[in-house]
Symmetry: C2
Subunit: 130 residues, 2 copies
Amino acid sequence: MNYATEQRKSIISYFEKRLDESVSAADIASALAFSVSKSAVYRNLALLEKEGKIVRVQSGDRTALYRYVASGKCEGKIHMSCVRCGKTEHVSAEAASRFEKALKDADGFSLNKGECLLFGVCKDCSGRVK
Amino acid sequence: MNYATEQRKSIISYFEKRLDESVSAADIASALAFSVSKSAVYRNLALLEKEGKIVRVQSGDRTALYRYVASGKCEGKIHMSCVRCGKTEHVSAEAASRFEKALKDADGFSLNKGECLLFGVCKDCSGRVK
DNA sequence: CTAGTTGCAAAGAGTTTGCATGGCG
DNA sequence: CGCCATGCAAACTCTTTGCAACTAG
């Protein structure tokens, strides 16, 4: 099962070029409009999510965003998104693992780091006036 | 502006009875079906969000969830949601503030704690077999 | 050849909006 | 009385699904 179709390859390669970004189904569908249909996009997103190659994350509005994790580059990374500029970055490894441990110890909660998206104001924006 | 209509009061009182829960527009609309219309629910949610009385949080699927923060009970609390049982709890204050500080120091990122929802497995579920 | 996959269009779910009516202050 | 808010239904957006045709293995 799971054929390597042209469509699937296009979608994966789209993700591979955007390792740190969270992209929506619409982003993919419009970028690949000539080679992949909208339904194939949705079906492959569901498949890839089930395989654990991508992770669904929150978005300010109500569209689902997906991030590619199969490359390992974002594996186990907590992402933080700036509410001013929208940029998304990784939480530094030390802060993340210390927090993970604290959560485990204090609350008995095992964090799924890759699924978490934090909100706040990034370094670049905290200087600026609102 | 912002009249205290019966509908608005009903919605706020609905939230006040569920301080730690994240509720959807549909939850409210069906609970108050006889006194508040669906559009009034959505319009009031938008209003309350703008006023900062409720916060919108992520949900596994694509429906928006809202949490009441005006009571102060959840103010500045990071919430964590169990991906197995769906329960949502507060991250203990120490873990949260230590993490907040680490983020600030290491990454220059100012966390909006109230807007964050973490995912993982809670104490009760981590014992159980999947 | 067979099971997984695709496209298209239609169906769904959740949310938003236009408009006339109703109610708070 | 004036302005904001409500109800209802229609409009929208994003996502899912049925089905026949197609294709990777």
